[in-house]
């Protein structure tokens, strides 16, 4: 906020409008690009069970890349998108492919020995280390200028209500999985509960005072004194709440470039149930964008179901669960087609988030929120029926990390730890290694910036 004000003040002193500012900033002599004032944001968006590579990865590399069926919904963002092919999750050790797929995805380190047996391999417990989103959250929270109310937010969409290695992507540390919030109303309470409660309180006080007046009549004069004391306190509170709420709604509408209203409206009575996934996803996206706009957090995870997730996308005319389908061989044409549709639906969610961010001007800053946010769309597997953790889907959209986007990149089987290091560095926190150091020797990935 301080830096924004400085910038505005600076323009004012120069006697130029804020709109002209972006032009001025392009001039190297003013050197603003090097300042750290820009808010950088990062979202890890997870969808499960691998993709259909043939209809996912572009054939052509570089700026002039082609967009396949699954990525079609993201076409409007072609210039702000990067596809990173050839990045592998090389973490070995305990746990089946799906477990290590999600548990090591953002942590880059092995799972502890444990008693959870998957479909193959040895049983395992939780991850041995912190995940990159939580690592960055801690770093941002340490610094006054990047500290926010929550630091990070963990959204879920129909993540099953059970804590196990397949349902957790984010870790606050070794053996400390972080549960995503899948109930939009619970998330709403976390974000806006206090404000909402103040409003609610203000709305009921009048009726309460009426009832106080009624009971007053029935008690002795001496006892009435206590009730009257109580009522006058309620009246005083009412007055204060009015002022407080008026002030906050004023500042919301006066917030330059901010969302129209500070508190999003959610549709009522939406159960956390399979058939409501599209609606829940929309509600969660809405709150994610709102909370970023309000600067509640700068890091988020957005986890659609879980590793081995079984959403049944009846709204696409698909009755089978996703994970079940993902095991079908490529020769099963029907299943193959359905898997393309399912993954396209996930891409639509990414696109919806990207669009909401692109349509929202950066509060008090330049450009859109997408210019300052990177969505990292990822997955626990490269391909469902082979359970490979090579060629993990990594699709980056937006300008949060400042990478040179609008390109399709191909790497030659590099460990994903190096990407995690690149992300940390782009967020301003260089590390010698992230996760298992054995996979970090070659440093950050080259060619991203």
């Amino acid at each position: 906020m301080t830096s924004t004000n400085n910038r505005r003040e600076f323009f004012q002193r120069l006697g130029v409008s804020a709109a002209a500012g972006s032009f001025l900033l392009g001039l190297p002599s003013l050197g603003w690009a090097a300042s750290t004032s820009r808010k950088q944001r990062l979202v890890f968006l997870f969808s499960p069970n691998g993709v259909i590579p043939k209809h996912f990865w572009p054939d052509k590399e570089g700026k002039d890349y082609d967009i396949k069926r699954i990525l079609k919904p993201l076409e409007p963002f072609k210039n702000q998108m990067m596809t990173l092919h050839g990045i592998d999750n090389k973490i070995k050790g305990d746990g089946d492919g799906h477990m290590r797929g999600i548990g090591c995805l953002l942590t880059g380190i092995e799972l502890f020995p444990g008693d959870i047996q998957g479909g193959s391999d040895t049983p395992a417990g939780w991850s041995m280390g912190i995940s990159v989103d939580q690592f960055l959250k801690n770093k941002l929270q340490e610094n006054e200028s990047t500290r926010t109310r929550f630091g990070s937010l963990e959204f879920g969409v129909m993540v099953p209500d059970r804590a196990d290695t397949w349902t957790r992507m984010s870790y606050a540390g070794a053996n400390q999985p972080v549960a995503p919030i899948s109930d939009p109303y619970q998330m709403f309470d976390k974000l806006y509960g206090q404000t909402k409660n103040r409003e609610l309180l203000a709305s009921v006080l009048d009726d309460l005072v009426d009832d106080f007046k009624k009971v007053e009549k029935a008690v002795s004069a001496e006892d009435r004194q206590l009730l009257q004391e109580h009522v006058s306190m309620v009246r005083e509170l009412e007055k204060e709440l009015k002022t407080e709420l008026a002030a906050s709604s004023k500042s919301d509408s006066g917030h330059e470039g901010a969302v129209g209203h500070a508190v999003p409206e959610l549709p009522p009575n939406v159960d956390t149930a399979n058939d409501n996934i599209p609606q829940i996803s929309r509600m969660q996206i809405e709150m994610l964008v709102n909370s970023f706009a309000a600067d509640f957090a700068r890091v988020a995870t957005f986890q659609i179901t879980n590793s081995v997730g079984q959403p049944r996308m009846r709204w696409l005319g698909i009755d089978e669960g996703h994970h079940g389908l993902s095991h079908e061989p490529d020769s099963n044409e029907k299943a193959y087609e359905k898997l393309i549709k399912i993954n396209t639906w996930y891409a639509e969610q990414v696109a919806m988030l990207a669009k909401r961010l692109a349509d929202t001007p950066e509060p008090g800053g330049e450009g859109s929120m997408l210019d300052n946010t990177t969505i990292v769309w990822t997955n626990e597997l490269g391909k469902g029926n082979s359970h490979t953790r090579n060629d993990i889907p990594f699709v980056l959209i937006g300008g949060g990390l400042g990478f040179d986007s609008g390109r399709a990149l191909k790497f030659d089987s590099v460990p994903h730890n190096r990407l995690l290091m690149s992300i940390a560095q782009a967020m301003g926190h260089e590390t010698k290694s992230f996760g298992n150091p054995d996979f970090c020797g070659d440093g950050i990935l080259t060619g991203l910036v």
Binding site: D115, I116, Q117, G125, W126, E222, L227, M233, P268
Partner: protein, 755 residues
């Protein structure tokens, strides 16, 4: 012994003469009606000294500048006048008769009422003997009736099955088994508890309600073996919990199977949750309010809900919001399921739910106007059920009809009686099914019906907890008191021993109150206590268990010389001691004020006790006598010290002693009662016998009990209430439980009369 030297023939004339002297010579310092004068003598002249004692005092000390001017008949006349006009308790009642004051719920009452409101949607809790938790042991990794190998009550959860499993004899394969523990955890007192589960294996624990997840360690992961949760629990409530514990077969090496359930209760130290706090039954779902509530006014010696301020108001808002979350996520879905066959036209189910909630909170039927304001309006305002419930909770729980429990003048007689009984006995509202039934049938109108209902509440955990809280208050031994002592002088008197002493005292109080006779005299006179191995080791052979084979807390051997109920209990003796020495003054003040119910005015100034190092040759008794020797001190200390000295046989950690500072202990003492009669006793045994038989002590006990349970002065229920209840108490062989019933019935009957 002082004698009454006022001619009894003409009280009025004597008082008239006294009044004239008082108005001429005393008003300057004491005020027109003894109210005090800030510059000279600010304290009001109130007390319980007899006219004779007052006369002596005035003759000796008043007026301060020339004590010789008001003596003999003059002193007697002044004394008779002030005693009658404003000094005595009778005069105070006459001048300003206490009345039943309107009060809001105290913090504890709010907690208990919300727990009651929550509980009203389920079956009611019942009383049950504690002693462990039910365990079902399965072969294999899941619930399979055919694979049950063992069912038993486990006194505590503290197991190291290693690699051999829970029972080879029963054929449980140690490499793959499942144990389902279920039961309830009983919180004896309200406060902050830390619950600690340690396990090397996978387990999941629910607490408070089936499905309310408390710890989820479904995934066993190396190094993750300790799970701590801190939460507020409400006293007298039993919290269902279940633990599903799994040793899973696997390809890799298995850790040895261990699990333990420990806690740190309020003011205690970490320990395995004892069997006495575990119940084998699964109690109905419970709500423990986590919202922090400000402490209540205690200036009258008991908690009163008289302070209405912003801090309290905000806490009631937070409490209402917290409650609404449970209403939305637990009560409403439960209600919907139960009423799924009912019509839901115009959201009738939600209205039905709201009506049940609000009428229970308001302790009675809703009027049409209330139905409109508290139910229909909020529901019609929003299509979202959760938001409607939140609004309804906020309104109802901030309404005067909930917060002021006695504003029920428009309700039926039975309802009002039930409201009083629940408030007095449980600090809660009448939520139990059987009680609601009696209200519906209007069967709480005769004294017999009321008394039967009160008896039915007897033995309930909620009443037990309130009774224990009363006794803690009576002994001034709440869980926050610090009784630690100089470690050099009293090695071994550590946190662990203190925690054991707390458990010992509580078990002793429980044993006495909930025994058949429930005899008050046992409290001050019993020749046994509750002990365990550690206490026996520290306190010696008078503390060994009566039954050699008993483990844990158990009854000690009897000993009349060193033991007299709570009086000799080390927790009390330590609390009434300094860091290195005893404090006969604290002990005496405690006995005079609390146990005998007498009044003392505050000391003339704050004094530090004389330093024992400067008087190396004196015993504590001698040192105290030396310091309080002056006439102005003796006004009160002649009453205090003589009581406190009688307990000099107990050192600062409550060990029995016969010498102090290498000299024999002098534990002789005396007491002058309300009637002016002097009793002398030699040592604690005679003191205890006196307290068991003294009318002053009986009256004080009844008075404290009344105030704790009712939170109003006894005199507000009629000038002779205290005397009547005391007489009844004596006639009932000092039965404490009967006393509580009598108090509750008194309050209920007053409510009927006031209608």
């Amino acid at each position: 012994m002082p004698t009454q030297n006022v001619a009894l023939g003409d009280d009025d004339a004597v008082r008239k003469k006294g009044e004239a002297i008082y108005q001429a010579a005393c008003v300057e310092c004491h005020g027109k009606a003894g109210e005090g004068v800030p510059e000279f003598y600010p304290d009001p002249l109130l007390g319980d000294a007899t006219i004779g004692e007052l006369t002596e005092l005035i003759a000796d000390t008043m007026p301060e500048e020339d004590p010789d001017t008001c003596v003999d008949d003059d002193a007697a006349a002044v004394s008779a006048y002030i005693h009658h006009a404003f000094y005595s308790e009778a005069a105070q009642v006459r001048n300003r008769p206490p009345r039943i004051r309107l009060a809001r719920l105290t913090g504890e009452q709010l907690r208990q009422s919300l727990a009651g409101l929550y509980g009203s949607f389920d079956s009611s809790p019942w009383a049950e003997k504690s002693g462990g938790i039910k365990g079902i042991y399965f072969q294999g990794s899941r619930w399979d009736k055919k694979k049950i190998k063992l069912e038993r009550t486990d006194p505590v959860i503290d197991f190291d099955f290693g690699h051999v499993g829970p029972s080879k004899e029963k054929g449980i394969d140690p490499s793959e088994f499942y144990i389902h523990w279920s039961g309830s955890l009983l919180a004896n007192q309200t406060g902050r508890y830390e619950i600690i589960v340690r396990s090397t294996c996978s387990f999941v624990m629910d607490f408070g309600r089936d499905g309310r997840e408390f710890v989820n360690n479904h995934v066993q992961s190396e190094g993750r073996t300790e799970f701590r949760q801190t939460l507020n629990l409400t006293g007298g409530r039993a919290y269902m919990f279940k633990i599903d514990f799994f040793q899973r077969k696997r390809k890799t090496e298995q850790p040895p199977a261990t699990i333990s359930l420990s806690w740190v209760p309020p003011g205690g130290v970490e320990e395995i949750v004892p069997a006495s706090n575990l119940l084998p039954s699964w109690m109905p779902a419970t709500l423990a309010l986590q919202t922090k509530l400000p402490p209540d006014d205690r200036s009258y010696g008991y908690e009163r809900g008289t302070a209405v301020n912003r801090q309290w108001d905000e806490s009631t808002t937070n409490a209402a919001i917290e409650f609404s979350q449970y209403a939305i996520s637990e009560l409403w879905p439960h209600y919907e399921r139960r009423h799924r066959k009912d019509s839901d036209e115009n959201r009738a189910r939600l209205r039905g739910f709201a009506r049940e909630l609000v009428s229970t909170a308001f302790r009675g039927k809703l009027s049409d106007a209330q139905q409109k304001v508290y139910i229909d309006h909020p529901i019609d305002q929003t299509p979202d059920d959760s938001e409607a419930i939140k609004t309804i909770c906020l309104m109802a729980l901030k309404s005067p009809r909930f917060l002021y429990p006695t504003l029920d003048f428009d309700q039926s007689e039975s309802q009002r009686v039930a409201n009083r009984l629940a408030l007095v006995m449980y600090d809660s509202l009448p939520s139990d099914r059987w009680l609601q039934k009696l209200i519906e049938q209007n069967k709480l109108t005769t004294e017999k019906q009321i008394s039967e209902a009160a008896w039915k509440m007897n033995g309930d955990f909620r009443l037990k907890a309130k009774t224990q809280a009363f006794l803690h208050e009576w002994l001034e031994l709440t869980h926050s008191v610090d009784v630690s002592k100089d470690q050099k002088k009293f090695p071994g008197f550590d946190e662990r021993i203190i925690a054991d002493l707390r458990a010992s005292l509580d078990a002793f109080l429980d044993d006495v109150v909930w025994s058949e006779t429930s005899d008050y005299r046992e409290l001050v006179n019993a020749d046994w206590t509750i002990t365990n191995e550690r206490l026996a080791k520290f306190y010696g052979d008078k503390w060994i268990p009566a039954d050699d084979h008993a483990v844990g807390l158990t009854r000690s051997v009897a000993d009349t010389q060193t033991r007299m109920g709570v009086l000799s209990h080390p927790l009390l003796m330590a609390n009434l001691s300094y860091h290195q020495t005893t404090s006969p003054i604290h002990r005496g003040v405690f006995l005079y004020r609390k146990t005998l119910g007498r009044t003392l005015r505050p000391p003339n100034a704050a004094f530090s006790p004389l330093n024992p190092d400067l008087h190396p040759k004196l015993t504590t008794r001698q040192r105290v006598s030396l310091q309080t020797d002056e006439v102005s001190c003796q006004v009160c200390h002649s009453k205090i010290n003589t009581l406190g000295f009688a307990l000099e046989n107990f050192d600062p950690v409550g060990r029995f002693r016969i010498t102090d500072n290498d000299q024999p202990v002098d534990a002789s003492g005396s007491y002058v009662n309300r009637q002016g009669e002097t009793t002398r006793f030699d040592g604690p045994r005679e003191l205890a016998q006196y307290l068991a038989t003294s009318s002053d002590a009986h009256r004080a006990f009844v008075d404290s009990c009344f105030e704790h349970f009712v939170k109003q002065p006894a005199a507000a229920y009629g000038a002779d209430t205290l005397d009547r209840l005391t007489r009844q108490f004596q006639q009932d062989n000092f039965n404490i439980r009967q006393l509580i019933i009598n108090i509750a019935v008194t309050v209920a009957k007053q409510t009927q009369a006031s209608k």
